[in-house]
């Protein structure tokens, strides 16, 4: 891409040289225009090369940027997976999704334009300078003096702009968020009769925002003005120097050797000398946007809510008939361990209830078994395999349902499920009649978060997935905690069917009816497990 940019600049140099040559020959030498076929062909060739190299330059940048963004996205997905659901629970999914979508998009300009332009801003002026130096070293000196002054002045202005903007960043941030904030709180404003006042506020704040922003912009735009000033002055000085040189008013240095050819050539190159710098200044905000985005992307703190998940090499040990945890110690950094020394053994086909007061570590134990968190010490094997090696069915307090049809919701977890299997699974959880009543059967759309279903129906729909993925181990974390009594009864009914199906089930619960289903009850208290 930098090469394409350089070719582009060289094509322009040829173009300028040939234009100057033809003018020199026809105007000064008095040659006939019809004798200029050679340069004319050269000119057309230069135009073609310049066009092609321009497209190539853009294209290479775009492709590189798309590749980088896709790579960053895949990297972020890996990070999410490595952290696991428990460690990520403290972060808003909207924020993380915003990182994944918008912030990654914000990297585009930096990789597609700014980064290669940084090189071009150095290489293109240097090659032009070389040509001008060969033509007339004094003119090259003018350009050389002007060029380094530009970054210097821009740096000075940039620094003062930075100070100014730091000063205003808090204020401006508040003002910019003002509108969003008022829209979000419209209900409250309506309830308190403050809508008219808020409308006036919004107008007033936008005015204030303008004042604050303009103060910063006035300084920020100085940098582009400086660039413009040097570019203009350099062209003017070069033009005057060449003009006076041609007239023979300047005896100094190489001036007496100037011709209309070299003079025009230099003049045509002068604006092109500054163009890459101006482009760089234009793309400067790309850099700022990308830096902001990069801050957010790197900002997933390593161990905010727990130890990172280290996926062990999944050992394909011999299959056994029990779920075993030995001397588990687990917790979250900055807190004392939630599980102290927990050992348990559950045989295939057993239904075990896990009880204990809230905060006693029930969820932590389930998370260890599911492989969501890494225990500090101890070992877990599920039928001889490491957690994560084979599918496990998981159901929390709130079912995970997406906006989509029944089928979409089932396929999300069990991508290969057949329609007949889905009907069977829904029948097993007692949803057969509900599905039959849907206008489009399994293709009926559900609202976001299962809107349109009762709490019990939603939880049973999630339970139907357990049947579909045919997992041997089922882990349930207070599946009835947020349900009303009727829904609770329905879910317990579905759990009974599940228990009868011969699966190995561990349920964290407070509910006596569920405890009654279990073959065995384990009580967790202050990180210590006891049989009951």
């Amino acid at each position: 891409m930098v090469v394409a940019g350089l070719v582009n600049a060289l094509a322009f140099i040829c173009l300028a040289g040939l234009l100057a040559l033809v003018i020199y020959r026809t105007v000064i030498d008095g040659q006939a225009l019809s004798a200029q076929i050679g340069p004319a062909i050269g000119l057309i060739g230069a135009v073609i090369v310049r066009s092609i190299s321009q497209v190539a330059q853009e294209r290479f940048g775009q492709l590189a940027s798309a590749r980088v963004r896709q790579l960053v996205r895949s990297e972020l997905l890996e990070q999410w997976a490595a952290r696991g659901p428990v460690n990520l629970a403290g972060r808003s999914s909207a924020t993380l999704a915003n990182h994944w979508v918008e912030q990654v998009e914000a990297l585009d300009g930096y990789f597609a334009r700014y980064l290669p332009q940084q090189w071009l801003a150095l290489l293109v002026p240097l090659s032009i300078l070389a040509v001008v130096f060969w033509l007339d070293w004094l003119a090259a000196l003018f350009l050389l003096i002007a060029a380094p002054l530009i970054p210097l002045f821009m740096a000075l202005i940039g620094m003062s702009a930075e100070r100014l903007s730091q000063q205003h960043v808090l204020e401006a941030g508040r003002l910019a968020g003002h509108f969003l904030d008022r829209v979000r709180s419209l209900t409250t404003l309506q309830l308190f009769g403050q809508v008219a006042q808020a409308s006036a506020d919004v107008t007033h704040t936008a005015e204030q925002y303008r004042a604050v922003t303009m103060r910063t912009l006035r300084v920020a735009f100085l940098s582009s003005a400086v660039l413009e000033f040097f570019a203009s002055v350099a062209i003017a000085v070069v033009a005057m120097y060449i003009g006076f040189g041609l007239l023979g008013y300047i005896d100094f240095g190489p001036a007496p050797q100037l011709t209309l050819f070299s003079g025009l050539f230099i003049l045509l190159l002068a604006p092109e000398f500054f163009q890459p710098l101006r482009n760089l200044a234009q793309h400067y905000h790309d850099r700022a946007a990308a830096l902001g985005a990069a801050d957010a992307l790197v900002g997933l703190p390593p161990t905010e809510h727990g130890y990172p998940l280290r996926r062990r090499a999944l050992s394909a040990g011999p299959r056994t008939n029990s779920v075993i945890a030995e001397h588990l110690k687990a917790g979250y950094p900055g807190r004392s361990a939630v599980l102290e020394d927990v050992s348990l053994s559950i045989d295939r086909g057993e239904v075990v209830a896990l009880v204990g007061p809230s905060g006693s570590g029930k969820s932590t134990l389930l998370s260890c078994l599911a492989g969501f968190i890494q225990p500090e010490a101890g070992d877990v094997t599920l039928f001889g395999q490491a957690p994560g090696a084979e599918p496990v069915a998981w159901l929390g307090q709130k079912p995970f349902l997406i906006k989509g049809s029944w089928v979409d919701n089932l396929r999300l977890i069990a991508p290969d499920a057949e329609l007949s299997a889905m009907h069977a699974a829904l029948e097993a959880v007692g949803l057969k009649d509900v599905v039959a009543a849907q206008p489009q059967g399994l293709d009926t759309p559900l609202g976001e978060g299962g809107r349109g279903l009762s709490g019990g129906q939603a939880q049973r729909l999630a339970l139907a997935r357990v049947w579909l993925i045919d997992a041997e181990l089922v882990l349930l974390d207070e599946p009835t905690a947020s349900l009303d009594p009727e829904s609770e009864a329905e879910v317990i009914e579905a759990l009974l069917a599940l228990a009868r199906s011969g699966r190995t089930i561990l349920i964290a619960t407070h509910h006596p009816a569920i405890v009654a289903i279990a073959n065995r009850t384990l009580r967790l208290h202050a990180g210590i497990l006891a049989d009951e």
Partner: protein, 551 residues
């Protein structure tokens, strides 16, 4: 174009500023043309003069007028550019203020049901992004093509003065190029650029699904497949974007090539005419360089017009929102608020909440608690009572008067409603409280803060009452924010009070203290309490469960 009409009309209210802004852009552009063209002419003219002098001819050459011209253009280009940028950004920020207040007024008329449909953060962010897109309409889509058009006309007009046919030929060629770079580019990129917002939305939805279902997906071992699906979606979005960018790159190359071809036509044309003796060599150089300088005005057009589809789509979305009307009609002949504040829900239907033919009475001066799980629809009763929504069928009455016979303002002044979702503004603690009663003394503020057990906490803050609450109350904990919202309702001191899960996010001990503090205050008011369980609510005269209520 129709989508943009209302916004263009809004922009055009600043016609004078816009004209001056465009003139400044034009001044910058013309100075650049002038600087290059005049310098070229000057050099060529000096070259020719020097040649004549060498041949022994005595011709006069005034170096001062063109020299002054060059210096003038060099200066105006800098000054015009700086002034233009400041002036136009000032205008655009002014437009932003207008756009936002127009849009806010439109939204503020909406009822609760419509608003809650719109509330998703995604929608809000898109709203601001859409408004931002429109506020640059002028700087990207209106001023630059206008200035480029004038530039073309001016340069070709000057050429036509020297040689009519050459000027007309170049003018035609450049106008066709201009159309291709604006209208052509817009049409060519329309579908791709309009689809982008939707693609980003889809990506966001998918990634949120993965995050929310991370536990289920990880456990079931299907995470890898979902990841692959997400990356595939991202890949196809990037693919479409690359297609769009390719079109932009080709458009930009067309701009460069088109201008250079016109330069060559002008160059050889002018030299050929010069050979006939119609114009001089230096003028031929002037023409060539003026054409070359036109490139600066045409180069940004393809990039801007490729986004036309996105701009139009943004305008269409905003139009849709402005066109939403409130479902809450104001009475033509409003009744006064009756003395008897007994609330009656009479045979009300609310389809979206699954409420059918519901009857309920809340006698004036008594309290009623309704118990049910979150999301069961009990909040809908409260919204009906505060008239954030109207029932699909049936009537809500206060005393003998139907609620829709009162003005919204009169009725809402009677109701203090703590909504299920805590809504705090991004202002100070005091300002949040003052929403309820603008003329309140600090002593009264401290009093309500004491009632919700927040006084000690606020006292310890360095700025005390003037401490800013983070966006959506983020600098307060969930429980503190909840209590601040409760304090605001207490401060309103209204005869009708609705508390929807008031102690959400409070620990048991605090909830208990707050409950003891506010129970005396609630006595004698008409009170509707909503919650998961009776022990999470203040004491009520009557308690109903949601399932009892529905049967």
């Amino acid at each position: 174009m129709n989508e943009l009409r209302p916004w263009l009309a809004l922009i055009m209210t600043k016609r004078a500023r816009l004209t001056i802004g465009a003139l400044l852009i034009a001044a910058t552009f013309f100075s650049a043309i002038g600087l290059l063209a005049l310098s070229g002419w000057f050099i060529s003219a000096t070259g020719v003069t020097a040649m004549l002098w060498a041949a022994g001819q005595r011709v006069a050459f005034d170096v001062y007028v063109p020299g002054g011209g060059i210096r003038f253009f060099a200066l105006t280009r800098t000054v015009a550019r700086y002034t233009e940028r400041i002036y136009n950004h000032n205008t655009v920020l002014g437009l932003l203020a207008d756009l936002r207040s127009t849009h806010f007024s439109a939204l503020a008329r909406l009822d609760g049901a419509t608003l809650s449909r719109l509330r998703a953060a995604q929608w809000l962010n898109r709203l601001t992004a859409d408004i931002d897109t429109l506020d640059t309409l002028y700087l990207r889509l209106l001023a630059p093509p206008a200035v480029a058009l004038f530039g073309v006309l001016l340069v070709c007009g000057v050429i036509a003065l020297f040689h009519l046919a050459l000027g007309v030929l170049l003018g035609m060629a450049l106008l066709i190029l201009l159309c291709a770079l604006t209208f052509g580019m817009a049409a060519w990129a329309m579908r791709l650029s309009a689809a982008r917002v939707e693609q980003l939305d889809q990506l966001r939805t998918l990634s949120i699904e993965q995050l929310q279902g991370l536990a289920e997906l990880t456990a079931a071992g299907t995470l890898a497949r979902h990841q692959a699906q997400l990356l595939q979606a991202s890949h196809s979005m990037l693919d479409d974007q690359l297609k769009l960018q390719l079109r932009v790159a080709l458009g930009q190359a067309l701009a460069t090539t088109g201008v250079l071809i016109c330069v060559l036509i002008g160059f050889f044309g002018a030299l050929w005419v010069a050979e006939q003796g119609v114009l001089s060599g230096p003028v031929a150089v002037l023409i060539t360089l003026a054409l070359l300088a036109l490139g600066e005005g045409l180069a940004p057009l393809p990039g801007a017009f490729a986004q036309y589809g996105a701009t139009r789509a943004a305008a269409a979305r905003l139009n849709q929102q402005v066109a939403l009307s409130s479902q809450l009609p104001e009475p033509t002949a409003p009744h006064p608020v009756p003395g008897d504040l007994t609330l009656n829900w009479e045979a009300v239907d609310v389809e979206h909440a699954g409420i059918a033919n519901l009857d309920l009475a809340l006698p004036a001066g008594t309290s009623l608690a309704i118990i049910g799980p979150s999301g069961c629809g009990k909040s809908t009763l409260a919204q009906l009572a505060a008239r954030l929504i109207d029932p699909d069928a049936g009537t809500v009455r206060i005393g003998e008067t139907a609620l829709n016979q009162l003005t919204l303002q009169d009725w809402r002044a009677q109701v203090g409603y703590l909504t299920q979702q805590t809504e705090l503004l991004h202002v100070s603690i005091a300002a949040n409280l003052l929403l309820a009663a603008p003329d309140t003394t600090d002593a009264q503020l401290w009093h309500v803060l004491e009632m919700v057990e927040l006084a000690d906490m606020v006292e310890r803050l360095p700025a005390r009452l003037d401490t800013w609450v983070g966006e959506s109350g983020q600098q307060l904990s969930g429980g503190e924010g909840r209590r601040l919202a409760l304090a605001r309702v207490l401060l309103k001191d209204s005869p009708v009070v609705i508390l929807d899960e008031p102690f959400n996010g409070l620990d048991k001990a605090t909830a208990e203290r707050v409950r003891r503090n506010i129970e005396p205050w609630l006595t004698g008011r008409t009170v509707l309490l909503l919650g998961h369980a009776p022990e999470l609510l203040p004491r009520a005269d009557r308690t109903l469960t949601w399932s009892e209520l529905q049967s």
